[in-house]
């Protein structure tokens, strides 16, 4: 049974944020048994579990709001690629460790002030999810920024890799601030956060860390968009094939 997009703007909004968290969490989980050290293996898995937990709360809430009995699993496993509305940044392949950490840093530098602002949402459930997520993301931001610093200001090799990651990922940061037409009313009602109000803080955080990491902050430039409208890179389909394989092969399987 394929799950169609919800009709309720609030459910769609929660779903988009859930998709960001699930896809990024899944990407981090791909490091399991592959991380450079045991210590980092655990750090990456911990962050993955935080994000997957956030996605579960948001999917569940989207199902409640929509009121058609859709569960978190229905949304995660039974939607097609085009129905996923995560930003393209989170589906970028892990690449090397520098790329993974910089992707995490870009996302956390946005998500931290986002959840802080969301704690004041007029929607009690979103405010509660925000209160839990804020603490988790605060740690992701700290951990990833410490690594960005060390990679940028480390060896010639680590600096080169981080500089390449910056070039690769920068065009995907614009979509962090995208607002879809059905979200403006939610923003006006104080339910959703206007991402534009977070741009200054995001840029200040990123600039401060990149400068200490001896990398120049890129200035604007062309930005890739599309994930929020369901237009994805070729990488998401492969990710979903792995993520959705078991529940589609054996519907209703439990373990």
């Amino acid at each position: 049974m394929i799950v169609e997009a919800p009709a309720s703007p609030l459910a769609r909004y929660a779903l988009r944020r859930a998709d960001d968290a699930l896809i990024l969490g899944h990407r981090l989980s791909e490091w399991s048994a592959m991380a450079p050290t045991l210590e980092e293996e655990m750090a990456l898995s911990n962050m993955a579990l935080d994000l997957i937990g956030q996605s579960r709360a948001l999917y569940t809430y989207a199902g409640e709001v929509e009121g058609k009995g859709q569960s978190e699993d229905d949304f995660a496993y039974m939607r097609r690629e085009r129905e996923y509305q995560n930003i393209l940044l989170v589906e970028r392949p892990n690449g090397d460790f520098a790329q993974t950490m910089l992707r995490q840093f870009f996302f956390a530098a946005f998500a931290y002030p986002y959840w802080l602002a969301m704690m004041r949402s007029t929607d009690a459930t979103l405010a509660a999810i925000a209160a839990k997520s804020e603490k988790e993301i605060a740690y992701h931001l700290r951990h990833s920024s410490e690594w960005v610093l060390r990679l940028g200001d480390g060896t010639a090799e680590s600096h080169r890799r981080l500089a390449e990651a910056l070039e690769e990922l920068w065009p995907y940061t614009g979509e962090l601030f995208a607002v879809l037409p059905d979200e403006t009313a939610l923003i006006a009602a104080g339910v959703a956060v206007d991402p534009d109000t977070l741009r200054g803080e995001w840029e200040a955080t990123v600039r401060a860390v990149l400068e200490r990491a001896t990398l120049a902050m890129p200035s604007g430039g062309w930005m890739q968009q599309g994930g929020r409208e369901g237009r994805h890179s070729e990488h998401l389909g492969h990710l979903l094939a792995e993520l959705q394989y078991v529940p589609r092969m054996i519907p209703g399987a439990t373990w």
Partner: protein, 95 residues
């Protein structure tokens, strides 16, 4: 694989206010900040602690196992040092 220049750190966790930090294990990290983060990620996944210390393993001075006779055996005959000869009222609780 930790490279030879990744130092070893000892991790101490205080599980509750009022208790002392207890040794929990060790880890490899390049510096103190990352050691503290790794300690959090490795040793506090199940709500084990409220406070963490990390100490460079190289800062620990250890007794020599060969000295254990001199160091620890003389205490074996001094059972009067154990406060087991007193009756403690139940109301006192855990001491």
């Amino acid at each position: 694989m930790p490279t030879p220049n990744t130092p070893l750190w000892e991790v101490f966790i205080r599980s509750r206010n009022g208790l002392s930090h207890r040794h929990a294990g060790s880890l490899h990290a390049a510096d103190a900040t990352l050691a503290l983060q790794a300690a959090r990620d490795l040793y506090t996944r199940r709500g084990e602690g409220l406070s963490l210390w990390v100490v460079p393993s190289s800062a620990i001075v250890a007794s020599d196992p060969q000295d254990k006779g001199m160091m620890f055996e003389p205490t074996a005959s001094k059972i009067y040092r154990h406060p087991t000869f007193y009756d403690i009222p139940d109301e006192v609780g855990h001491m």
